[in-house]
């Protein structure tokens, strides 16, 4: 008896259908399982406009507060051993925009510092912005490179073992 020849593409398609017959069920199971997990993961995705809006708002507030405050003394870059005064505690603003930290030049700092993309530390730091290695992008918001900030933060932490971390958290 003569056997028929069948097109290989047809056989290939049939074999693939058989091979992946379980796939729709797997995909459905997957969709059910991950919907919860995805909700948690995507919460961490902060849209760019929110970041930019936060930066803009913080810069404006820092600028306004800076106008009301007397200029800070020209102290060392990090004065960590002195108690914080009311002045120091007021009006400190560091905001994070990509790899640059913006400071209000007149104000000492006791605020949240973004040390890394995913880690922020609330820490009392006194900074005289005029002494900072500034790469100025505008008169009102002199900038401090992230690497410099991290270095100073590390030095600061080293020098103050008794520091009170108001918070150290991942977000």
């Amino acid at each position: 008896m003569t056997k028929n020849n069948i097109p290989m593409n047809d056989l290939l398609r049939e074999a693939l259908q058989k091979k992946y017959a379980q796939e729709p069920r797997l995909a459905e199971d997957f969709a059910k399982r991950v919907s919860q997990k995805m909700a948690e993961k995507t919460k961490r995705v902060v849209p760019l406009w929110v970041k930019y809006a936060s930066v803009a708002a913080a810069v404006v507030v820092a600028f306004m507060l800076g106008r009301w405050m007397p200029a800070a003394d020209h102290e060392e870059t990090l004065q960590t051993n002195r108690p914080n005064t009311a002045e120091e505690k007021m009006a400190a603003k560091i905001v994070h925009k990509t790899d640059t930290v913006y400071l209000d030049r007149q104000i000492a700092v006791e605020k949240t510092v973004v040390v890394h993309d995913t880690v922020r530390v609330n820490i009392p730091v006194r900074v005289a912005a005029n002494d900072m290695p500034i790469a100025s992008s505008s008169d009102d918001a002199p900038t401090l490179q992230m690497a410099d900030m991290e270095r100073m933060m590390n030095e600061f932490v080293e020098s103050r073992r008794d520091i009170h971390y108001t918070s150290l958290e991942r977000y």
């Binding site: 290989m8 056989l11 919907s35 909700a39 993961k41 995507t42």
Partner: protein
Amino acid sequence: MQANEQEMVAAVSRGRPGSHEAVMERYGQEVFALVVKLVPDVLDAEEVTEDAFVKAFRNIRQYNSTKAAFSTWLCRIAYGLAIDRLRQRRPPTLRLEELNVSGEMGAEDEELFIEEADNHQELLHRMLDAIDSLPPEEQILVTMFHLENRPLRDIAYITGEREGTLATRLHRIRKKLHQIMTDYDKE
């Protein structure tokens, strides 16, 4: 791009609450179906798929609707991550181009035939074995083209290869499968 797809992308890029889940719900199964063909371990495939969506959400502004449909863009990201995962998990395989399999035909331009066996199921199992003997990258190519009927243009976008190269690869893969099947008959 369809209107609601456009809205969906815009919502994600604005960070509207619930938009990520909506995208996941709509495209999750398609992306997972692609990934699981490359990464057979279901848990690994789930992880790669999740990572693909997170990566897509973070880079949503890079999506260009004139180049590909949103689902194709998602598949492209997932394909890249799945290939990375494969390379971490297994030793490198020999690409078909490195074997001495001749042929420069296009994707559709040659009809190959197999002699029907007495038992069709047996023939089907032999074809399944032949498919399983291919590296995952080649399996996914024939799957996208022959099972999912994706246009060569989309497969090229997903895999990052040129259409001409893909057509040649598909032809060679089919010839290789044909050779495996006919060699089996001779044994």
